[in-house]
């Protein structure tokens, strides 16, 4: 009985602590809010056969996938922005586009964002790499 009451008190403290943190985090997040915008100027680069379907990959999508693959499958969104020459809004839009294609997972806190390759994204990144090498562009891409 006493233990149950102590557990309730502990839960009450945890909820109170969490509520205070959530309120503060959401106020702070307003300063970091960025709305993603998909970059308009993207040039179709490849049509790849993936899982029995054709997938069109643009120059910026290919670059982003290679950057994430180069980071071992996990990379900061900032690094993608730098590599593709996009600002943070457009880089976020590009990452969301890749997420919709099932190629990456966006792990995002308001002030920090990380892009993680999915197994399909890794497969596509490897095909992009091979295709660039075939075209003699492999070293330039790296």
């Amino acid at each position: 009985m006493g233990e149950g009451l102590s557990e309730e008190r502990e839960l009450a403290k945890a909820v109170e602590r969490a509520a205070e943190a959530i309120a503060l985090m959401r106020r702070r997040a307003e300063r970091h809010h960025v709305e993603g915008v998909v970059p308009k100027r993207q040039t179709p680069l490849f049509k790849l056969e993936v899982g029995g379907a054709q997938l069109e990959v643009t120059d910026k999508q290919a670059a982003a996938l290679l950057v994430v693959k180069g980071g071992g499958g996990v990379e900061a969104l900032n690094a993608i922005a730098r590599a593709t020459g996009l600002n943070s809004k457009l880089a976020l839009g590009l990452a969301r586009q890749l997420e919709q294609m099932g190629l990456v997972k966006l792990v995002a806190a308001p002030q920090r964002k990380v892009v993680v390759l999915t197994p399909l994204g890794r497969e596509v990144a490897e095909k992009v790499e091979r295709e660039l090498e075939k075209r003699g562009l492999g070293a330039a891409a790296r």
């Binding site: 102590s6 839960l11 909820v15 969490a18 985090m25 959401r26 806190a109 002030q111």
Partner: protein, 106 residues
């Protein structure tokens, strides 16, 4: 300090109050990952945040992504279920209104 015992998927998880607070924050704040400084807010200070993360990772409730000198933390599926169970219990005791206020007041 009495630990909170949460049963999820047939597993009994023993959580401290700060770990429980961290789980609630991660599940309900409204975004997919949190930073260590977010967890400091939930647990009180840097040392508690590090200790809570270590315990939650060991229990399989939290994933860590480490990139270019910073770390992000997300809940695993088990972590989400544990946080949902904490919510269910808090609601049963009439404690959840504080979290709803915090979410609504942003």
């Amino acid at each position: 300090m009495t630990p909170l015992i949460v049963e999820v998927d047939g597993r009994q998880l023993e959580l401290g109050g700060k770990e429980a607070a961290a789980l609630i924050v991660m599940r309900f704040v409204g975004w997919s990952a949190v930073t260590l400084s977010d967890l400091e807010l939930a647990t009180g200070n840097y040392v508690s945040a590090i200790s809570a993360v270590a315990k939650l990772k060991a229990l399989g409730l939290v994933n860590e992504y480490s990139v270019r000198g910073f770390k992000l933390y997300t809940l695993t599926e088990l972590g989400e279920k544990a946080a949902d169970e904490l919510r269910r219990r808090a609601e049963g005791l009439g404690l959840w209104r504080r979290v709803e206020e915090a979410l609504g007041g942003a």
